[in-house]
């Protein structure tokens, strides 16, 4: 604000209170220019763009309810005798952590509801991140300039998994103790450093006396702190890059068509926060989650069947359950491949999706900025790869719950495990092929619609007796939307001889890249979109059906 303006305002009498407050704040915080630049920020409208908001809001709900829980939770493994209000555990020895969680559930006002909101919100948060990530993947929103933000989001997902895991371990109940034991086993399977890491993490032999207190610091401070920072960075980058949008008339790679942040999106987002909170609160009100009182306190000599981690770790559980128990004894050292291979696959599988944006941009050689989203059908190879990844993930979720599936569908657990073992390798391939076919089919349909119009459902009888179905031509907007996507040519290795006629040697990586590029954009991977000439020829002709 210029000084002159404020002087003129003052000369007309006292400025309104709101303006004075704003002026006071601006003089100290310099928020005016920030607000001016961002208040009218435009966001495009699509339901799938709100998936990230579901994650953000459930994260906030987790933080708020988590703070309440810290007021009553004692992160201590001191042994105490229980004399609270849950009868089936009275007189039992347990850690203070478990006892205080029982107290939160039965003796703290609103404690059980808050605990259940916290846990349900965590389940929804991770599920939301998974779906949000898939939305970004399948629409190609991770392409330049958003690769870094994709990595931030990926890190949030992985950190969310581990924050969830450490939180689930805190009550020190029999289920979570079994989960921590499982994790310790996985750590131990790492060659050379495994035993050292385990001893360091648990402060000696498992379970020791430090586990809960250490996991508590990690769960409430370290991981959420990093996540909060990443969330802020994630949002700043969304603002900086501006939101992507689907192709349509008037939408270009250089603009954003939608509604301004203030007032429209502020109102919508604010309202949506309360809707998310409401849905999660209802969930917590009607359905129990992790009833630790039914599970009993953790004792390393006890174990129960049906011990699974929360869903987001089910993939890792499945890998270990499906893996044969291989083991190598090497110079007096045991290499537990039955656990270490799944652990390695777990890391590689996650890394694959994290690095995908860089892999795709290398293969396609596409270094341009993209702000217009792809429809998944228009990138059949990418869509196929994504579905293959999700298929492998889902098959391992089945593997993680193999016992529950066996009992509830009256199957043999061995048969379920074999299905998972074979399915992990075959399923993704089948899913890739089918998905790609479906995408190509949809592209053909789009082409057909552009050239011949929409099936009107009206059957017309011609004078000479022939029946035809009337096709209605599409509107200009629809035509544009269906043909707006770019079609790429596969990258070439370049001529075999250079300008001087000397034979040019292509590097191995270049050959590989050309092959992969052909797989992405070659003949079998996309249906050429209708050209203007084709369209004109068909629409000017007569008697087409």
């Amino acid at each position: 604000m210029s000084t002159q303006e404020s002087t003129t305002a003052r000369s007309r009498g006292k400025a309104p209170a709101g303006e004075r407050v704003a002026d006071w704040a601006d003089g100290r915080l310099g928020i005016y220019s920030l607000a001016k630049a961002n208040m009218r920020k435009i966001f495009p409208d699509h339901w799938s763009f709100m998936l990230g908001e579901v994650c953000l809001y459930s994260f906030l709900i987790i933080i708020l309810t988590g703070v309440y829980l810290t007021l009553f939770f004692h992160p201590s493994m001191n042994e105490v005798e229980y004399h609270g209000s849950y009868v089936p555990l009275q007189g039992q020895l347990m850690s203070e952590a478990y006892k205080s969680t029982l107290d939160i559930s039965f003796d703290v006002r609103g404690g059980l509801l808050i605990r259940q909101i916290h846990h349900w919100a965590a389940i929804v948060f991770l599920a939301g991140m998974f779906v949000h990530m898939m939305r970004v993947f399948f629409t190609g929103a991770f392409r330049k300039p958003r690769e870094i933000n994709w990595l931030f989001g990926f890190l949030l997902f992985v950190l969310g998994m581990f924050t969830g895991f450490t939180g689930y371990s805190l009550p020190d109940d029999l289920l979570s103790g079994t989960g921590v034991r499982f994790t310790q086993g996985a750590i131990l399977s790492v060659p050379i450093v495994g035993t050292y890491i385990s001893m360091f993490l648990f402060g000696g032999e498992f379970p020791g006396d430090d586990m809960v207190a250490r996991f508590y610091s990690i769960h409430i401070l370290l991981l959420p702190g990093i996540m909060l920072g990443l969330v802020v960075a994630h949002l700043i980058l969304v603002f900086y890059h501006k939101h992507t949008q689907f192709a349509g008339p008037g939408k270009t790679n250089k603009n954003v068509v939608g509604m301004p942040l203030l007032p429209v999106y502020m109102a919508k987002a604010g309202g949506f926060f309360f809707l998310v909170f409401g849905v999660i609160a209802i969930l917590a009100g009607i359905a129990t989650v992790n009833p630790i009182w039914a599970l009993g306190p953790y004792r390393p000599d006890q174990v129960s069947t049906g011990a699974q981690p929360d869903w987001y770790m089910g993939f890792a559980e499945g890998l270990v359950r499906a893996m044969p128990g291989w083991e190598i004894n090497f110079w007096g050292h045991t290499l537990v491949l039955g656990v270490f291979i799944p652990l390695a696959i777990f890391g590689l599988f996650l890394a694959a999706i994290a690095l995908y944006p860089f892999i795709e941009s290398w293969v396609t050689g596409d270094k341009r900025e993209h702000h217009i989203l792809d429809r998944p059908r228009n990138a059949p190879t990418r869509t196929g790869l994504g579905v293959a990844w999700v298929t492998a993930y889902m098959i391992m979720l089945i593997g993680g719950g193999n016992d529950i599936i066996a009992t509830h569908f009256h199957l043999s657990i061995n048969a379920v495990t074999w299905f998972v073992r074979i399915g992990f390798f075959v399923g993704p391939v089948v899913a890739f092929v089918i998905t790609k076919r479906i995408c190509l089919g949809l592209q053909r349909r789009d082409k057909d619609k552009v050239l011949h119009g929409r099936e009107a459902g009206i059957i017309k009888r011609l004078p000479h007796g022939e029946f035809i179905e009337v096709h209605e031509p599409l509107s200009q907007e629809q035509l544009y939307t269906l043909t707006a996507h770019e079609q790429y040519r596969p990258a070439e290795i370049g001529p075999a001889v250079d300008d001087n006629g000397v034979e040019r040697k292509a590097k191995g990586s270049q050959k590989l890249r050309a092959k992969l590029s052909k797989a992405y954009y070659g003949e079998g991977s996309q249906i050429p979109k209708p050209t203007v000439e084709e369209y004109k020829e068909i629409t000017s002709g007569h008697g087409h059906h």
Binding site: V289, T305, G314, I413
Partner: protein, 239 residues
């Protein structure tokens, strides 16, 4: 003076009559697999020494006579009356000494320590039957059944005799008092009138059910809400 002798004789007669009746029932329903004298065949184990408790459990829960061979014989509708079961049990008990049918005093709730029962259950039973007896999978299609709705007597008999794939827990392993405690614990956490403190129990089988519920009803509802919110966009004013 002669009355007790008469009574004893009457009891003996009643007993031998029951055995006789039981043998006839046995010949019809059981002999195909267990052999004409309970000695066992390739299709069914010997019943010598399994005791009356085993017969009462297997027949009263409908598991025996088995409908078909398989990984495990499931529970089904029982078509024998208690009197017939007692006759069958008397016949099998006559083949060799084994655990007898427990009395109400043994499996009833009086004097049971629920919390101790919980500890015993988690130490001895939860590996197969889950934390609160919801059941679990064993290898090759075998399973540990859900214990909800199983009568106290049958739970006692199952521990005593170890039916099918279950190991037996004779009194030397789990004392009468231990068994009583376990039964009382199960009634408290997995009985017909157990209150689920946190709302819908979702089967009581842990995170798999919770994850499915969270995805379908949690995220599913939120996506529906998102679609609804996105469909209601502010309309630009026409100038």
């Amino acid at each position: 003076m002669f009355a007790p002798a008469d009574k004893a004789q009457a009891d003996e007669t009643a007993q031998s009559l029951a055995i006789e009746e039981g043998k006839q029932l046995y010949s019809v329903g059981c002999a195909t697999c267990h052999g004409t004298d309970g000695q066992g065949t390739t299709d069914g184990p010997s019943l010598v020494g399994v005791g009356a408790a085993a017969v009462d459990f297997q027949v009263a829960t409908g598991r025996m006579p088995a409908q078909q061979p398989g990984a495990q014989v499931p529970k089904k509708k029982n078509i024998y009356s208690q009197a017939e079961i007692d006759q069958l049990a008397a016949y099998i008990a006559s083949l060799g000494a084994g655990p007898s049918i427990p009395t109400e005093e043994q499996y009833g709730p009086e004097g049971a320590d629920i919390a101790k029962g919980g500890e015993l259950f988690r130490t001895n039973c939860a590996q197969c039957h889950n934390f609160t007896g919801k059941g679990g999978a064993l290898t090759h299609g075998k399973f540990a059944p859900n214990l909800e709705g199983v009568s106290a007597k049958h739970i006692y008999e199952a521990m005593q005799t170890g039916p099918q794939n279950m190991p037996s827990f004779p009194d030397s392993t789990l004392t009468e008092q231990n068994k009583k405690d376990i039964i009382a614990y199960l009634d408290a956490v997995n009985g017909e009138d157990t209150v689920s403190r946190g709302g819908l129990e979702l089967g009581g089988i842990g995170p798999v059910a919770e994850g499915l519920f969270g995805w379908i009803f949690g995220l599913g509802t939120l996506i529906a809400v998102a679609v609804w919110v996105a469909a209601r966009t502010a309309k630009a004013k026409k100038s």
